[in-house]
């Protein structure tokens, strides 16, 4: 609205300037001066309107800044509330308990791995040095049999070494508890 009024006043000022020029051509000095005075008045009004607009614009900028500030504070407050809620959910005692549980689980896992690494069954009773010595004897015997004449070769009795395979444990197949529930319910309600 103010901008519209400004345009109207500018048009009027321009019109007065044209009239002043015409009066000047016609050597009517007094009339020309009157037109110039009116032009000055219009320009003053235009300047005043400009000040009005500037003031309103200034306030708009201030309002937007205030809004941004408010939103920022709200966001910070929401974040603080969320952090407080999370902090409430994360109790230091719970953290200690959780860390203890993690350490305990880690220890258990280590023990399980150590137990699995240890030789099991009959193979645990064998001495590594004895086994190596026995292996060398086997290699020696094999070498001798190759060097001697086939006809004169004495019979070789192979040494029986029990297998050292670690027994594999089948992974427990946990049936779905939910399916068990449904099956039990169906059996209960059956005809």
């Amino acid at each position: 609205m103010l901008e519209k009024k400004e345009k109207v006043l500018e048009k009027k000022a321009a019109a007065e300037l044209e009239r002043a020029k015409e009066f000047s051509k016609a050597k009517n000095k007094r009339a020309a001066i009157q037109s110039l005075k009116r032009k000055k008045l219009y320009e003053q009004q235009i300047e005043q309107l400009g000040n009005f607009q500037l003031r309103i614009h200034d306030q708009m900028i201030m309002l937007e800044a205030a809004k941004a500030t408010t939103e920022t504070v709200d966001a910070l407050r929401t974040g603080a509330a969320a952090m407080k809620a999370m902090q409430k959910a994360t109790n230091i005692d719970d953290v200690d308990k959780t860390m203890d549980e993690i350490n305990e689980q880690t220890e258990n896992m280590k023990q399980i791995q150590d137990a699995l690494s240890a030789p099991l069954g009959a193979s645990a009773d064998f001495d590594e040095d004895e086994l190596e010595a026995e292996l060398e004897e086997l290699e020696g015997a094999e070498l001798e049999s190759q060097l001697l004449e086939p006809v004169a070769a004495p019979p070789v009795h192979p040494v029986q070494v029990p297998g050292t395979r670690i027994p594999t444990r089948p992974a427990p197949q946990k049936a779905s508890a939910e399916e068990d529930e449904l099956a039990a319910l169906q059996a209960e309600m059956a005809l």
Binding site: A81, A82, A85, M86, A89, A177, E178, E181, L182, L185, Q186, E188, M189, L191
Partner: protein, 353 residues
């Protein structure tokens, strides 16, 4: 979460006119045919066809007559030339059909056994000990009876204009309705037994599917406009109610797994289903609307809690309703076989399950 048992639908019996059997035969005075004639006369007596008669006694009579009828040979020569059986449509009693067919007679008797079973089931006090199990068994027997009656009528050739209630569409619809109500009994039992939310959700979803199948048949010919409006409203509201129950219990499971985004979407979807159904349905029992409103309140409570937690803690994205996959279902019921339905034990009035 103890709640009052919700109402169940039962099927009215087909009415019949008196029929003279086995006159003018040399075996007229035999004990067997005297029993048969008397059973048929009792069946068609106006007093015994009143709805106030005890459903168990009525079923016992039907079973006895069926046993006697089955003992008679199927040879048409054994029957009088003017033999005629007249039965009325169960849902439109002014429609009737008369046929000189023993098969028609047997089918009508089996249909009425199903109707009597549904009456027994609907009248059972499901809050009492063993009540929900007894009702479940009777609904399964009713489902089997309606299917058997429909199968018996498949071979009958004549105009089917007045046999809508035993036609293929009605038999299938009634079977589905009875299975839905049996599945609903399983759901009530699951809640009482403290079954997990995921399992309860599956049981509820299957009940909803059965109700939806029954409703789908009711809104197209030949069943359209053949049943009372309150029947259609009842079935539609039950379908929406059990879809919401399935969403509700599935959401509880999601909450325990901290999948809050999908929980919110499931709850909103379920609540919308109830709200839409309550607006659209007219004529269902008031207690059914009350049950829907109570469930809506419970779901709104859980939704509010989930929204608060999501806003403050989890900050998860909520998926759109159209992106949700259909919920899984598990059927715990089946239609009883004809031999189970015609069990001699039930003829004596025992409600063995």
């Amino acid at each position: 979460m103890s709640r009052p048992p919700s109402p169940m639908l039962s099927v009215p019996e087909k009415k019949t006119a008196a029929t003279e059997l086995f006159r003018d035969r040399h075996f007229f005075n035999s004990a067997f045919f005297t029993d048969l004639r008397e059973a048929r006369a009792s069946l068609s007596a106006p007093s015994s066809q009143a709805t106030t008669q005890d459903a168990a006694s009525r079923r016992a009579l039907l079973l006895r007559y069926h046993r006697l009828l089955a003992s008679a040979r199927d040879d048409p020569c054994d029957f009088d030339d003017d033999l005629a059986f007249t039965w009325h449509d169960a849902f439109r009693p002014h429609l009737r059909r008369t046929a000189a067919s023993l098969r028609f007679e047997k089918a009508a008797v089996v249909f009425n056994v199903g109707a009597a079973s549904s009456r027994i089931a609907a009248a059972v006090d499901r809050a009492a000990v063993g009540g929900v199990k007894a009702a479940c068994g009777e609904f399964q027997r009713a489902a089997g009876a309606f299917r058997a009656a429909g199968e018996m009528m498949e071979g009958e050739e004549e105009d089917t204009e007045d046999t809508v209630d035993m036609g293929p569409e009605a038999s299938a619809m009634l079977e589905r309705l009875m299975l839905a109500q049996a599945q609903e009994c399983c759901f009530e039992r699951a809640l009482a037994a403290g079954t997990s939310s995921a399992a309860c959700s599956k049981v509820a979803k299957q009940a909803a599917l059965y109700y939806e199948e029954a409703y789908a048949s009711l809104v197209i010919p030949p069943l359209q406009n053949h049943f009372e409006r309150s029947w259609v409203a009842h079935i539609l509201l039950k379908a929406a109610l059990f879809n919401a129950e399935a969403s509700y219990h599935y959401a509880i499971e999601l909450h325990e797994k901290t999948e809050i985004g999908e929980e919110i979407a499931r709850l909103q979807f379920g609540i919308n289903a109830i709200v839409d159904a309550k607006k659209a349905v007219r004529g269902a029992p008031g207690s059914l609307y009350d049950a829907a409103s109570r469930l809506e309140q419970d779901m709104n409570q859980n939704l509010e809690r989930a929204l608060n937690e999501n806003n403050r803690i989890y900050l998860l994205r909520v998926p759109a309703a159209k992106l949700l996959a259909p919920l899984p279902a598990a059927s715990l019921v089946r239609s009883a076989s004809l031999s189970e339905i015609l069990d001699v034990k039930t003829e004596t009035g025992n409600q063995s399950s």
